[in-house]
């Protein structure tokens, strides 16, 4: 996916994305980081077609996103949002089956292919045993994985996650990031996600996009992009970076 000179404004005046250009590398894990209100989510909503750019355009396989039909686009691009309401009286399997909609008409019978895709999605997210459980009976981490399973059932090439770890405790955060890593390595999925935790971004991404005030400040390999100077500039936080064999590169915020 390619973003070219995109300008977005929520109120018609202020530029919430100001001539942003980037390329999401195929088959890699890309993480967007930056302080609150920097335009991370806005950039995601351009990619997911929830916002149409005022200027510039977003393209996928050299076609403008606005040219795609809804289902056609959903076959290429799946997104999991940060917070999802849990519908009443719905089993895990039924929810994940909604992910098959792009491949199906609402009125057609489910095919073997649908069944296989759902089983695969449940297997990847380690939810096979919960298949027939009601959504309300799941833990927080399991719920987040159900939504990921639904997105996986779309069998898209790109999987996008908007702050997937925000409401989870550290156990589920790690579980989720390991899942993302595995999906990328085993199935070659292109991952785009927004994270708040800089160390998680360093550890789990191939490519980092750092944003501030509606602009991309830097992008590239995590160790090239995320430095002491940049953290000071973008977040206004003094930090220490450390690297050793056991922990890899990590950052510790010190003071403001």
């Amino acid at each position: 996916m390619e973003i070219k000179q995109v300008v977005v404004s929520h109120d018609g005046k202020a530029r919430h994305l100001n001539e942003v250009s980037t390329v999401i590398p195929k088959g890699k894990v890309t993480t967007i980081i930056g302080p609150n209100g920097c335009g991370k989510s806005t950039l995601l909503s351009v990619m997911s077609r929830n916002k149409v750019p005022l200027e510039g355009k977003a393209t996928l396989e050299n076609r403008d996103l606005v040219e795609y039909k809804p289902k056609e686009f959903a076959k290429k691009f799946a997104i999991v949002y940060q917070q999802n309401d849990i519908p009443a009286d719905l089993t895990v399997e039924k929810l994940v089956m909604y992910g098959r909609m792009p491949h199906n008409s609402l009125f057609k019978k489910k095919t073997n292919e649908d069944e296989e895709a759902v089983t695969w999605a449940l297997q990847c997210t380690n939810l096979l045993g919960k298949r027939h459980n009601d959504l309300s009976a799941l833990s927080g981490g399991e719920r987040q994985r159900v939504w990921i399973a639904m997105a996986l059932a779309q069998q898209s090439e790109i999987l996008c996650l908007d702050e997937p770890t925000t409401y989870l405790d550290i156990y589920y955060q790690l579980e989720l990031l390991e899942l993302v890593k595995q999906l990328n390595e085993q199935y070659g999925l292109t991952i785009v996600m927004v994270l708040h935790d800089i160390n998680q971004a360093i550890r789990y991404s191939d490519h980092v996009i750092l944003m501030k005030a509606g602009k991309i400040i830097a992008e590239g390999l995590p160790r090239d992009v995320i430095t002491k100077e940049v953290i000071k500039e973008v977040y206004g936080v003094n930090s220490v970076f450390h690297e050793d064999e056991k922990l890899g590169l990590y950052m510790m915020p010190l003071s403001i």
């Binding site: 959903a74 519908p87 009443a88 009286d89 639904m150």
Partner: protein, 317 residues
């Protein structure tokens, strides 16, 4: 699975019993045996009177109940709000207003009253959406906007009546003196609406997902909302034209139906239609026979039951 089947059978049996009771009770009394044996007897005067006077009323009650209840389910699906009801949020009032307008000022267009009622209902529905859209269809905001729209259209209708418009059956519901013309009207429009509602079950099911998520799986949320809203308005308008405004049924019936058969619209919509038909006929029949010769309109009975029920719902949430 069994609970669903038992619910369907139980309500169907109750419905049949109520139909027979409604047909045989009143100023002309008839035993069940007499009713069955004389059903196809053209020479029985009592039977002829029942067929002429009570059958239209029964059929109108059944269809009005089914139509309003299903309209409730559809509105609740598109607004993601268990309190959405055509009577509550002004759709019925909008339909009643335009209907009265046509009847009073351009009576030559009488034939088009259902269409006028549809336009009035659609207008009210459009306003409710427009004014609560910014809050992300926040349930409370939506209901408040609905109450305002309802008050506005009810007020306009009352104003027209003060200026001398014919008031019969416009504001309060009235199921007496229904003719076979009324029956053909509500059966035609009601059936079309009910069939469309059943066809749209899958779209209603997808709408339990948030808009963003539904969109992300390639579902056209806006188009689905418009189509489902149109069917809901059609159902509400059809029953308002023939039976007047009956509130609460659109909240009460779907709520009980969900308890009995669950949230899957494939089962919920047909069951709600059945249950709604039963409940309005029951309300009308009780209102007609309990205090005979006085008559209590079905809408009044629904309000008396519906008020406390709504409080019960609000306390539980």
């Amino acid at each position: 699975m069994t609970k669903k089947i038992i619910s369907f059978i139980a309500v169907a049996v109750l419905l049949i019993i109520t139909v027979i009771y409604a047909a045989t009770t009143g100023s002309i009394q008839m035993s069940f045996i007499e009713f069955i044996t004389n059903f196809f007897n053209p020479d029985n005067a009592d039977m002829a009177a029942i067929k002429d006077l009570r059958f239209p009323r029964i059929i109108v009650a059944l269809f009005a109940g089914a139509a309003l209840s299903v309209a409730g389910v559809l509105l609740q699906a598109i607004m993601r709000n268990p309190l959405a009801d055509a009577g509550f949020i002004g759709i019925s009032a909008g339909a009643a207003f335009t209907k009265l307008f046509i009847v009073s000022f351009v009576p030559t267009l009488f034939f088009f009253t259902p269409i006028a009622a549809f336009i009035g209902g659609a207008l009210a529905c459009f306003f409710v959406f427009l004014l609560s859209w910014k809050s992300g269809l926040n349930p409370l905001k939506l209901i408040l906007v609905g109450i305002a729209i309802n008050a506005m259209f009810s007020g306009l209708t009352e104003a027209m009546i003060s200026f001398g418009a014919s008031a019969s059956g416009s504001i309060t519901s009235n199921l007496s003196f229904k003719t076979w013309d009324d029956v053909s009207l509500i059966v035609t429009y009601g059936s079309i609406g009910l069939i469309l509602a059943i066809i749209l079950y899958a779209s209603c099911n997808v709408l339990v997902l948030s808009d963003k998520t539904a969109k992300s799986v390639g579902f056209n949320v806006t188009a689905a909302r418009i189509v489902i809203a149109a069917v809901a308005v059609l159902l509400a308008a059809a029953s308002v034209v023939v039976a007047g405004v009956i509130s609460f049924v659109g909240i009460l019936v779907p709520h009980i139906a969900r308890r009995l058969v669950g949230y899957d619209h494939k089962v919920l919509i047909p069951f709600t239609a059945l249950l709604g038909a039963f409940i309005i006929l029951l309300a009308d029949t009780l209102g007609r026979t309990m205090f005979s010769p006085m008559e209590v309109p079905a809408s009044t009975i629904m309000a008396i039951i519906g008020g406390p029920f709504l409080i019960f719902l609000l306390r539980k949430e």
